[in-house]
């Protein structure tokens, strides 16, 4: 036992003697904090410019004011003129421009006569048709509807309710306004963490990137071990002891990078809770250690493992829910430890799946050890 501890301390000292490694451990939380802080400022997946012809009437200005509010997904800005708004779209500074007419109230009245598309009164300029832009135009409906709704109400009453002929438009509109109905129709599942709500869309991939970093820490340590093997650093040790050294040096790097990642999650506000975070990371470290050991034994040399490492990184980024949720390659996802870790934050059942998969990595790595490279 004493020898194991001695080797463990020596191999960790080997890592910590390199200022570069310490710098990385410090950089991880720093860069994460910097990125998540910067992404909290005003931004949007889409940038839509609003403008009104001739400054617009009160209705146009009310619609523009309504839209010109912060949302996570759409950044609305207001241009001085329709020409300036269109220029921003042409120069790719904006995705679309919505131009409101000078006389919006009259335009609405004209439109409501037959609801013909020839009477469209808002002009949309966009660079190209995308699904996101198509969905964003629903916000036009949201801005326009309150102004259209009272017209539809009055028009209907004047045509179909003779008992209200003697009541003035102002009184009727009073009844409309006084009807207190603020419909919050939707409640959202509480599986979205508070951290995700506060940090928004852009900070989401940070956790995924940190989890990939942990895997890369293990692979990098394995490459380091192979370099030393090739240089004969551990030549005096028997194979069984070299296997132990390879494992401990790999696990040490994984552990320290995992701790740096946990600290990064904490300082950047991505932390979801001490219990869940530590349990998820602890199981992930064991799973990643098995995964990296398996890859180390399959690759058989530092050169192959170096070449394989970026492929593994890209696979993790593309297949696991780091940037995108996708299910097209579920059969590959279930083979990767990062998939379980990222899902375990929202669905703790994945902690159990990860705990079940970890021994499988170790089992396969033992098998690979028997069939090929012993270390």
């Amino acid at each position: 036992m004493k020898k194991i501890i001695t080797w463990f301390l020596m191999l960790n000292k080997r890592l910590f003697k390199k200022p570069g490694f310490i710098a990385i451990l410090l950089l991880v939380p720093f860069i994460t904090l910097a990125v998540t802080t910067a992404t909290k400022q005003e931004s949007g997946v889409l940038h839509i410019v609003l403008a009104a012809e001739g400054g617009g009437d009160q209705a146009a200005r009310e619609m523009i004011d309504f839209l010109d509010k912060d949302t996570d997904l759409i950044l609305f800005t207001v241009a001085d003129s329709p020409e300036a708004a269109k220029a921003q779209v042409l120069s790719a500074k904006a995705d679309a421009a919505w131009i409101f007419p000078a006389e919006t109230d009259e335009a609405i009245a004209r439109f409501l006569k037959d609801m013909d598309e020839d009477n469209a009164f808002i002009h949309v300029y966009q660079r190209e048709q995308t699904t996101m832009l198509a969905l964003s135009t629903e916000k036009i409906g949201q801005a326009v509807f309150p102004h259209v709704s009272d017209d539809i109400y009055l028009n209907f009453i004047r045509k179909n309710v003779p008992s209200l002929d003697s009541v003035s438009d102002e009184v009727l509109l009073d009844y409309y306004q006084k009807t207190l109905l603020d419909v919050e129709l939707f409640a959202f599942d509480n599986a979205e963490t508070q951290a995700a709500k506060e940090n928004g869309y852009l900070a989401g991939p940070v956790r995924g990137l940190l989890s990939v970093l942990v895997v890369l820490g293990g692979l990098a340590a394995a490459i380091y071990f192979y370099k030393d093997e090739d240089a004969g650093t551990f030549a005096m040790l028997p194979i069984s002891r070299r296997r132990f050294v390879a494992g401990v040096s790999q696990q040490s790097a994984i552990l320290w990078v995992a701790l740096a990642s946990l600290l990064a999650l904490f300082v950047s506000g991505q932390w979801v809770g001490f219990g869940l975070e530590t349990a998820a990371m602890a199981i992930y470290v064991v799973a990643v250690a098995g995964f990296c050991t398996l890859l180390r034994r399959i690759s058989g040399s530092g050169r192959m493992l170096s070449a394989l490492a970026p492929v593994v990184v890209v696979l993790l980024i593309a297949i696991c829910p780091v940037f995108f949720q996708q299910t097209a390659f579920r059969f590959i996802q279930v083979l990767l430890p990062t998939y379980y870790y990222l899902n375990s934050v929202y669905n703790p059942m994945h902690l159990l799946y990860m705990a079940a998969v970890a021994p499988a990595y170790w089992g396969l790595s033992l098998l690979a050890g028997r069939l090929g490279r012993k270390i």
Binding site: G20, L73, T130, T131, A134, D150, G204, A307, V313
Partner: protein
Amino acid sequence: MKQYFAAQLKRLAKSAPAVIILSLALAVGFGLVLSLISATNTDATERKAVVAVTGEMEDTFLTMGITALSDFDTLSYSVEVVQTDTETAKNMLDAGQIAAYVVIPEGFAEKAAYGEFMTLEFVTTPGATGLVPMIKQEITEVISTILTHSNKGVYGMADAIESVGGNATYKVLTDLSFDYVDFILLRSRVYSVENLGVAYSLTLSGYFFCGLTTVLLFLLGIACAHIFVRKDTTLGRLLYSRGISAGRQLLGEYGAYFILMYIITALIIGVALVSGLLASVLPVIRDMTGIELAFIFVKLIPAVALICAFHFAVFEISTEPVSAVLFQFLFAAIIGYASGCIFPVWFFPEVLQKIAPFTPTGAARGYLAACFNGEDFFLYLALCIGFAVLFGGITLYARKQRILGRKEGNI
């Protein structure tokens, strides 16, 4: 020095086949990411978000409403609505077959008829991206607004009729509701759309191609860490004692590495060109002549030079592969992400949009894009050359320090 350069070429040639093959595999992986991103963000007609509606579905008006949403509403171009039970919807959500589901509680339709709206539960996978946040955050608000104001009209009319001693009949309330439904179904007619085209700017897919290629090339340094990262400076000192200065040593090594990276870059662009992928994501190249297309391969040189210089700086400063590999990933993935190589830079706040071009990853991405569309070409060219010189200077300084023994293996 020529001999040293040739020796470096031979040294790299041993690893080159594995690196090139795996780089192409990497490129396929990125092609996969590109296709996933493009499918999520582009083309309004082929990729819809599927949302399931579950719960109490027996009311006629409710069923009519859902049918209208599925078949007539403009939202149906982007969202497909399916009806199923809650358990099946949960399983479908887990399996990724649907983006979200809505649960209609029992008694919803009955209470809605009297102006009381029960809450609908909207369930999606946490951390969902793509169309789902748009639907969840924006579309649900749109629906709530429309419902609020249309019901103000219906119940306002009922109150007005009662105030004059009348009785608001079911027919008159329903007729007004149908007037509102008419407008709701035709709401897209209030605006007309004009697509201005992208001219020589990049399409979204073209942008992603340039960004992901940049990240890929920066990550490729990981594949060569094993070859170049070393703490032993014996060879460097020996060469120095024979008159080959630190600068000339680096030039020999860098030259060989540059050739390898350039071959990989040219192969990736070449395969994308021949397969038609490049033309589909960068329509500007369809108008290019053969000479202009060939010249693109020449234009790649500054970007490759920058990336190689960055890799060399990391290799030289690190004396073991762990920090070299981790630093390259931190830079390529995290700084690359924040500088707009994965999500477009305009997604990010203005401060990051301003900083992005002045990061190595942002400069390389911007330059790659400028190779195709010419926008700010000389700015990005200057940035690429500037960064290449900067990293070259750092590498030279680090090598001098190491072979002259002032800081033995301790960087």
